[in-house]
Symmetry: C2
Subunit: 211 residues, 2 copies
DNA sequence: CGGCTTATTGATCCGACTCAACGTTAGTGG
DNA sequence: CCACTAACGTTGAGTCGGATCAATAAGCCG
């Protein structure tokens, strides 16, 4: 990541709802998020959409386009977001100058595969409550890793986006959030969330405590 | 792939049910399948399993271990399977001798991400019938690409494995196969499958015809 | 041949979806 | 700055797809 940042060519800013790239487009850039947040999604020929990830600063987008030379997913800013772009065409050239760059990129992709495996596990095998509990815990950990409060944060994505990502209906997201709130595990106000009883939330998600 | 094959160190054979590697193990080898088939899976702390892929000759396994130095999934032979192994420790060394090797590996990983995105779409957004129809079509295409019959083939995985992979119950797999059979779209006998009406099957999967 | 795994089919139940109505907030332009 | 509007969020009622539980059949292998 730091390497990628050091060879950045351009910085760009996107507003809420703007596309960074869309599926099928020619692979021109890799994107490193500097600030804000981005959702990535794929869709079926008949128009159904699956959100594949929410991305925060420090994360790199677009590498899955490498194999076929075109993006397989689309990326859209959830709020005002600034990114660094690296021209795909220069990647080979850069890799020759910086031998460890390719290794960095492989690590990123390897990590992406790992993360996708987690999401598949969640989509295939977990109940709606477990999904949402795990989702909240995952957010909490990501914020903690960036030295933000792990118990108080703002969601940049809508209920609909959360539901889509987790493979459940928007209404179910609301209902379960209400249920968690009634159980004293969380408090929500619109997009602001407070995690009150992490322990209990982890029990619902049936996860091991953080490693 | 051809490159990987040219630098292969060891060939190994696994029998049905044997593990190639398991989650958490140290990342020692990359595996290229020469013959047979392999399933990969991940699991939750409480023991639920999600199969993430069925793999056939020509495919490479284990690259997602790169990021953390340990496998994130397990791989198990579905039948007698022969593989080529490359020592992970020698990858750096090899990459220096063969500059395009890393690029090859990135392409493989990039392709893996793409494939995982498809599975997420399937797990999150499709009905059981659509899943199974798409599964059969996908198999058909993979066999066709290897010059086997796209309409007649043997499954190396059980109904339970299929159901797990698709995120549905084993019983539902059976029921829907029966339904497809009654509709004259396929014929099954145990693990042997004949696709009779591909057109109709594609309609059920709501897919575009093959590109 | 007998025990074991895999596949099939039936009956029942429940979690989550859909449809629908309504409340709330943020963003827009006058 | 305020009114208006569109997007977002919440809640309820009713339905259904697919899970689960249970029993039986059909291969498979020693």
């Amino acid at each position: 990541m730091t390497l990628l940042e050091s060879i950045v060519k351009r910085k760009e800013t996107y507003k809420r709802g703007q596309l960074l790239f869309r599926a099928g487009e020619r692979f021109d850039f890799i994107y490193a998020i500097r600030g804000g947040s981005v959702k990535t999604s794929v869709c079926t020929p008949d128009g159904r959409v699956q959100i594949t990830g929410f991305h925060i600063p420090g994360e790199v987008l677009g590498l899955s386009a490498l194999a076929l030379g075109q993006y397989s997913s689309e990326a859209r800013a959830l709020e005002t977001t600034s990114v660094c772009r690296v021209e795909a065409a220069r990647l080979d050239e850069l890799a020759q100058k910086i031998p460890s760059l390719q290794y960095q990129m492989m690590k990123i992709m390897s990590g992406q595969i790992r993360q996708d495996e987690e999401l598949m596990l969640l989509l295939g095998r977990r109940s709606a409550e477990e999904r949402l509990a795990e989702y909240l815990i995952g957010l909490s950990r990501r914020f903690a890793a960036r030295n933000f409060s792990p118990t108080q944060f703002n969601l940049s994505m809508s209920r609909g986006d959360i539901g889509n990502y987790l493979g459940i209906a928007e209404e179910t997201v609301c209902r379960i959030l209400t249920r968690f709130q009634n159980a004293g595990m969380i408090a929500t106000q619109r997009r602001h969330v407070s995690l009150i009883d992490l322990r209990q939330l982890e029990a619902v998600a049936r996860m091991k405590p953080a490693a």
